[in-house]
Every structure is written in C-alpha cells, then in structure tokens.
Amino acid sequence: MIEIVSPGPLATIQDAGRRGYLRFGVSLCGAADAFALALANILVGNARGAGAVEATLVTPRLRFLEDTVFAATGGRCSLSLDGERVPMDEAVPARAGQTLAQAPVTRGCRTYFAFAGGLNLPEALGSVSADRKAGIGGLGQGRKLARGDRLPNELPADAHELAGRRLSAEVCDYLPDGAATLRVLPGPQADALSAEGVEAFFSQEYAVLPESDRMGVRFAGRPAAFAGGQSGDIITDALMPGAIQITSAGQPILMMADAQTTGGYAKPFWLVSADLPKAAQLRPGDAVRFARCTMREAREDLLERERALARLERAWETRRFRVRAAGETYEISVREVGPA
C-alpha cells in the first residue's frame, strides 16, 4: 500500500489508455506522455502500459506503508526519500514507513511514478485510467487522487533483481525546456486555412496558455486565417489525441489524452505520434513552433523510440530455464550482460 499524504494540484492514475470505445464517445485517456509511462514501468519490471501515477507540475507526497520499489520518469524534479536525495530514471527501493517528499516539476510538466508489481486496481472498460467525464477508472468514478487515498501495490518476490536499473541521461532529451518545436502532418481539413493562414501557423512562435490541460494544449498567437468562405466550423467529425483544431478565432488547440471524441472545428494539421510525449510535457508560457514533417520521418522516429524501449526490456529481462542433470532438476536465471 502507498498512501497519498498530499496529492499536489493534479495527480491521477493512468495506464496505456482505453481502447475500443471512441465510437461510443469515450475518450482514450491514459498517460499524456506514454513514453515516460513506459520507461517508469520498464524500470520496475512492469508491463509498459501498466497503471501508474501521473503528477502535474508538483509531485505528490507519498508514504510507503510496505516495502516497494518505485521509479520516477518524465518531468524533472528533485526527489527526496526521508530527507535523502533519490534519483529519477532509476529503480529506487523504499522501505515501509518512508516518505517521498513533494517536489515541483522544474523541466517538463508531468512526472510518472510506477511501482514494482503495479497497482492492483479494477479495470473499467479495459483500463484503470481515470476518466472523470465517463465516471470510471482510478480509485473509482475517475476522480483525481486525494489526501488519504491508498494505492494497493504488492511487491513481487523477485523485486531484488530490479537493483541497478537506470536509464541514461539522454533519455530526457525530448523534454521541452521553455521552448519546443512540434512536427505536424496534414489533418482531414488540410485546405481549411488560407495561404496566409498556413504561413502564420508555421512562421510564428506560439505561447502555451495556462488553460491547457489533459484535454488539450491551447496556444495563443497571431490568428491563422481561414481560406475564402470558410469559418473553421465543419460538420462535426471524429478526432483523437494529436489532432490540431483551429478555433473560429484562428487559434490552435492540440488535442491530448482526455480529448473528446468528436469536434466541430477544422483540423488542418495533426501532430506526428512521436512528438506526443514532448507536447505532453509543455508548460504554460512555453514557446512553441510548428514544423512540417513527412510520413516517413514520422514513422522512423516512432520506430526508433520503439527499438529503444525494446532494447531496455531485453537488457533487463531475466529468462528462467529448468535444467535436468544427473536426475535432479535445477532452475537457472539468465540475464543479458552485453553484446557477445
């Protein structure tokens, strides 16, 4: 069990999200930064998409009621366990009774905490992700974490094998540090903007607005004009995280994990999948530029990230074999220690 002593401004339970219900109006939800979620889970030996705590701008104060092993990834913060500094991007053992102090996120926006053995919570529509609108997930009704909440966690017997799991420093290179470039591909209303509107979209530096949340990142800038005769209103159609709507006022909204499933604004652009984690780490006030991308580049970046995650999983995988020798059965564990 892990107790939430103080939740911070917004902490929720999120996993890889809810699949298969978009057509019924249920948002995908899940970790806004799925890459950081995967890293945290891999560090503690969980499946990539297991449920974890997503903290926003300030991390929660946690008390460990039993021994566990945790990992913190994503938005940078300075963590201390019972007053002693502990690293991010590493499997950290915590003993029963220890407290993890609250910390502001100083680079990026969202920090993820995964626990060895995962969180033992019931799934709703195939996911433990908190969805307030649908009233499901998390610790019930999709609500955010509150003081006194307890997260059920059971440490696996082989948790001692997690010792030494650590990510290299470059892993957080994607985190924006006050400024970021986001790459886009065409969306379904690719012709909605005028030539000047397109020019305005790609040439200026936008500011991330404080109203940004898990539903969408809102930007302020010079309005992007619509093509002749168009207002930006469309016959409502479907959307997903990554869609970039241009409102009637000419301002972009980038849809995020909790995005509604349909919308009535034109979507001239769509973020490349590989840049979703970066977008999830934008903070209010950050400066953002949009850049064009190709399908090929978008896919190669995603493949590269997938290979990096697979490498980590392989490197830390323990394989068990049963061997019979001289009438006795032995179990041996094997771990990859480097290239041959």
Binding site: R19, G20, Y21, L22, R23, F24, G25, V26, A124, L125, K133, A134, G135, I136, V184, L185, P186, G187, P188, A190, I235, T236, D237, A238, L239, M240, G242, A243, Q260, T261, T262, K267, W270, L271, V272, S273, M295, A298, R299, L302, L303, E306
Partner: protein, 226 residues
C-alpha cells in the same frame, strides 16, 4: 468518397459533406466493410455524419498501406445490412422531468400535448455518439418544435434528460452542465459502465421516444436500478 490522412496514426474516409440519412448510410456501410476486413493494425473505427475515422498502429501499418487496403473494399448494398431494430426510449415529458416543455410549446404556438406527439412521432437516426460517453447526435427532428438554447446553461442537467437545442434533439447520458431546453427524462440508462453492454445506442441505430406517465417512469427507474 476519398481518403485523407489524420497525421501518421489515423485516416479519414470522407463522403459527401452534408447531413443526410443517405450519406450516413454510406458511412455505416463502409464502416461495416472495414470491420469485416479485419485489417491487422487497425485500432478504432469512428463514424460521424459524413466521415469515418480509421485509427491504426503506425508501427504495424502505414497510411499508404491502409489506403491500398481500403480502396479494394466492396461495401455491401447500403440499405440491406442495416440493423432494423428501433430502440424505444420511454420518456416522461414535462413537469419536474421536463421544465422547459411549456416554453417549447409556447414558442411553437402548440399545446404541450402536441409537442409530445410531434417529438415522439419520429424515428430518429443516430448519426454518432460523442461529446460525452453515449451521447447520441440525432437527426430528423420536426422543425416546428425547434427552440433556442438557454441563455445561461444549467450547472447540472440530470442523466436521462431529453432536450432540444435549435433544430436538434438529444439525451444526456450522464449528468453534466448543459444549455439545452429540457422537455422530459428517460429512466433508461444510455450509458452504464457496470452493465454488460455499457452503451444502449450506436451510430446507425434508430431511436423512438415513447411517452410514459410518472408512475411508469418510477416503476422503470426502480426496475433499472435492480
């Protein structure tokens, strides 16, 4: 029909840009054909008024590969395959369940009874679900009972509330803030995550409102709660 990308992880199949049952039948027929084809890597199909979004795992499938697979599909004859069943939704009109019924009637120059007869006399096509879980976008409401939204939305509209906004009618599946004129309420849950079938409706179905009295409403509500 044409196919356009939605970034690297979805595609949108576009049909004639207008709201009509004919266009929507084409959308649904194409959705069924994609579903039947069971293309590896395709994750979700989201039909709307005149488009179908097909989301996919970009590591398993590229837009070009998907485009090729979709172009070879043969959607069945639109009309023959529809699910014929009409979902009937009991509604208690007026009173505490429909505080705006009298407003709608006065505006239309009709009696409350006539508004109920007109509203419940139509089979409404469900064009899509969206906005909140299970919220149906319905077509085909009689223009005589159209009514503007409230100037200031209510902070909470009860689940099951049946409303009118402009020329549209709809049902709130969950309690939420809302500016629609509320003319009645259904005791049937359009969305219940604990139910084996969490959603009562789906795009392509048809919906008819059936007027019931307060006693029947109470009985059905109790039955549903068991």
């Amino acid at each position: 029909m044409k196919l356009v990308p939605c970034g690297d992880s979805a595609a949108s199949v576009r049909f004639e840009e207008r709201i009509s049952p004919e266009v929507h039948r084409e959308v649904m027929a194409f959705a069924r054909a994609v579903d039947r084809a069971a293309i590896p890597g395709v994750l979700e199909l989201v039909p709307s008024y005149c488009a179908l979004m097909v989301s996919f795992d970009p590591l398993a499938l590229s837009f070009d590969e998907l485009a090729q697979k979709l172009s070879s599909l043969k959607p069945g004859r639109a009309a023959g395959e529809e699910s014929a069943a009409v979902v009937e939704l009991p509604v208690c009109y007026g009173g505490e369940y429909g505080p705006d019924l009298d407003f709608v009637a006065a505006r239309a120059g009709l009696s409350a009874h006539e508004v109920i007869r007109i509203h419940s006399g139509v089979e409404y096509p469900v064009y899509m679900l969206g906005f909140t879980p299970g919220f149906p976008y319905l077509g085909g409401m009689d223009a005589r009972i159209a009514a503007p939204r409230l100037d200031a939305p209510r902070t909470s509209v009860a689940a099951g509330s049946v409303g009118i906004a402009g020329a549209q009618t709809g049902v709130y599946p969950v309690a939420s803030p809302g500016g629609w004129r509320i003319i009645g309420r259904t005791p049937v849950k359009l969305y219940d995550p604990a139910r084996e079938e969490p959603f009562l409706l789906a795009a392509g179905r048809k919906l008819r409102f059936v007027p019931v009295g307060a006693a029947e409403f109470a009985r059905l509500e109790k039955e549903g709660a068991l």
